[in-house]
């Protein structure tokens, strides 16, 4: 029961934070909200028994991605600092599109009959994940290493200040 309430709380918390991400005038506040939302989602993972995913979410997302984003905000702070208008002119259209998307999604979800498994969430053993990763999904695992390499190389190439010859 507590899980359930906690889940509700986390959902509301994450949703409110998400709204904050897209509405705060100050981009820095938005980033903080993103962190809050990521943590909220991480909490949901935890409650649902996806412990390893929770860990990765906290480590990579909050610890890595969010830090990067904050870092970037700082670097570009001269503009980001000022609380100038952060939304563009297509608010109405955007709202309509996201509302319709939401409606379509909810419609599809409600219309779909789910045969759910009853009972508490099964906690996933990290070892199983490891095995699965290295037995069933070794190819994407290997490929993603190349992807990271490419991204690394690319990020360096792009971010580096060229020395003028």
């Amino acid at each position: 029961m507590i899980d359930m309430y906690l889940l509700y709380f986390l959902m509301i918390f994450a949703a409110v934070s998400a709204v904050g991400v897209v509405t705060f005038r100050n981009i820095f506040h938005g980033a903080i909200c993103l962190g809050a939302m990521l943590l909220g989602i991480a909490g949901i993972y935890l409650i649902m028994g996806a412990e390893f995913v929770f860990a990765v979410q906290v480590l990579v997302y909050v610890g890595g991605i969010l830090t990067l984003i904050l870092f970037a905000i700082m670097l570009t702070s001269k503009i980001a600092d000022r609380s100038i208008l952060q939304a563009n002119e297509q608010k109405t259209v955007s709202f309509l599109i996201s509302a319709i998307t939401l409606f379509v999604l909810i419609y599809a979800i409600v219309k779909t009959p789910f045969t759910t498994v009853q009972g508490p969430f099964i906690v996933v053993d990290t070892a199983r994940i490891g095995k699965s990763l290295f037995l069933n999904n070794i190819l994407p695992f290997e490929v993603i290493s190349i992807l990271l390499l490419a991204a690394l190389v690319g990020a360096i190439v792009l971010a580096r200040k060229d020395i003028k010859k």
């Binding site: 599809a108 979800i109 219309k111 779909t112 999904n137 490929v143 993603i144 190349i146 490419a150 190389v153």
Partner: protein, 472 residues
């Protein structure tokens, strides 16, 4: 067990990337890198042509069949030709030469894997490998603000599309409970399709439409084509598109084959809109790369016709057309790369009097454009012919009518460019010369356009039989 014999091409590419990486670190003279890259890609290409082992491995997430080998050949040919054509660009942007090849080849690796992946995680990762490399390559010309803008636009929109794709895949996972194509197909045929499954199909189709750049998911194309370095544009105008089609073909013809009726009509609608809008939008363009961007959008619309038919004829037409597109489009880009290397401009007006400055380039451009416009006896015409026949066969006469009418429009805008090339007097009469590598690439493309146009028989049968085995 992992059957490495099926992975020759992938391993060769990885090895090539590694070699380039090491060489890049070891030597300050970057010139040999180009040769190594050319040689390496050619060897890989030759290997792809030569080794034709089929089978599955990695617990069914990797499949090597005629279809994937066919596409791999195209990707490697594309990479090979683009690397041949990159010399001038690298001479002008000498920093990060090694990284350029690494990124280009990792994108190629992503494409190659996309063609072979038969499971969604692998597919997704390879897609991202291709995409992220492409994003970086688009922004490669750091001194040019347009290049950065192109990269950023591509990246942001690409990320949105891939976010959407992920959401779609998650819904698909919810509906099917598996990520393997074959198993998804089994689930779909066993159960009545649920709304989220439909939604998943639509979202995945939309996300892939972004990659193959069809209307209304095409809008990144002109800006990115205009801003990104020309060899890179050439690379992903062909590679990304073919990869997208390879995935669409495998995913939709295996996993979603049970919903053929639904997605067929969707694709037909998309292709109709794409053909119309792409061709219309190309008319007022003044920048040749942007122009080719729109033309490539329209081409994608044509290719989608074959896919929408979901028959042997349709799929083989699609594959044939992709070959046609590869040769014709790269021939056009080759000319543009050579010309812009000399005149430092991408305006269509810069091509005035090209005929006087380099008759060979002018003729190549003519052949390329006429092939893209679907004029016999060039390969593009046969591509269109097969596509249209497959569509007529399935009763999509209206689609063929649109396609045929708009190809007349396409001739119009190709002629606008050719008018500059042939009729207008040149602004500057100095001749334009190309390097040996560039000429080789151009020669291959034009030869392909001509030879496969006159003798489509050369590979058409093998295409048909590979589709037949694929569908069995």
């Amino acid at each position: 067990m992992i059957d490495f014999s099926l992975l020759k091409i992938e391993l060769l590419l990885c090895g090539l990337i590694a070699i380039l990486f090491i060489l890049d670190l070891l030597f300050t003279n970057k010139k040999p890198l180009h040769i190594v890259a050319i040689a390496g890609t050619f060897i890989t290409f030759a290997a792809a042509l030569f080794f034709r082992d089929t089978g599955t491995t990695f617990v069914g997430s990797f499949i090597s069949d005629d279809l994937s080998i066919f596409f791999k050949i195209l990707f490697l040919l594309n990479a090979f030709l683009v690397i041949l054509l990159s010399g001038d660009f690298l001479k002008k942007n000498p920093l990060y030469t090694g990284e350029y090849f690494i990124l280009l080849l990792s994108a190629t690796l992503g494409m190659v894997l996309m063609a072979s992946s038969s499971e969604l995680i692998t597919f997704y990762i390879s897609l991202e490998l291709m995409s992220i490399s492409s994003y970086i390559l688009s922004a490669y010309q750091k001194s040019n603000p347009r290049s950065g803008e192109a990269g950023l636009k591509y990246l942001l929109l690409g990320a949105m599309a891939s976010g959407m794709l992920l959401f779609g895949i998650s819904l698909l996972y919810g509906a099917a409970g598996t990520l393997h194509y074959a198993e998804i197909a089994g689930v779909i045929s066993a159960h009545a399709a649920s709304p989220i499954l439909y939604l998943a199909v639509v979202i995945i189709l939309a996300a892939m439409s972004f990659k193959i750049a069809v209307v209304p998911f095409h809008m990144w194309v002109p800006d990115v084509y205009e801003g990104a370095p020309t060899p890179v544009v050439a690379f992903f105008s062909v590679g990304t598109k073919i990869a997208g089609f390879a995935v669409l073909m495998r995913l939709f013809m295996t996993a979603f084959v049970g919903l053929k009726a639904e997605w067929g009509i969707l694709m037909a609608a998309i292709s109709a809109i794409t053909i119309i809008a792409g061709n219309l939008l190309a008319i007022p363009q003044t920048n040749i790369k942007r122009f080719l961007g729109y033309s490539s959008i329209a081409q994608a619309g044509y290719v989608l016709i074959g896919l929408a038919m979901a028959t042997v004829a349709g799929l083989s037409a699609t594959m044939f057309y992709l070959v046609a597109y590869l040769f014709s489009n790269l021939a056009g880009f080759a000319v543009i790369i050579i010309v812009s290397g000399k005149i430092e401009g991408d305006k269509i007006d810069d091509y005035k009097g090209l005929w006087k400055r380099s008759p060979i380039l002018a003729v190549c451009l003519l052949i390329s454009f006429m092939s893209l416009g679907g004029v016999p006896p060039l390969v593009g015409f046969f591509g269109k012919l097969y596509l249209f026949t497959s569509a007529v066969e399935n009763g999509y006469v209206w689609l063929v009518a649109i396609g045929v009418l708009m190809s007349v429009v396409s001739i119009y805008y190709y002629l606008i460019v050719l008018k500059r090339v042939y009729i207008d007097p040149p602004l500057d009469t100095s001749p334009i010369r190309a390097s040996i590598w560039e000429n080789t690439a151009l020669g291959i493309c034009v030869a392909g356009t001509l030879i496969f146009g006159i003798l489509p028989i050369l590979f058409f049968d093998s295409v048909v039989s590979s589709v037949q085995t694929f569908l069995k």
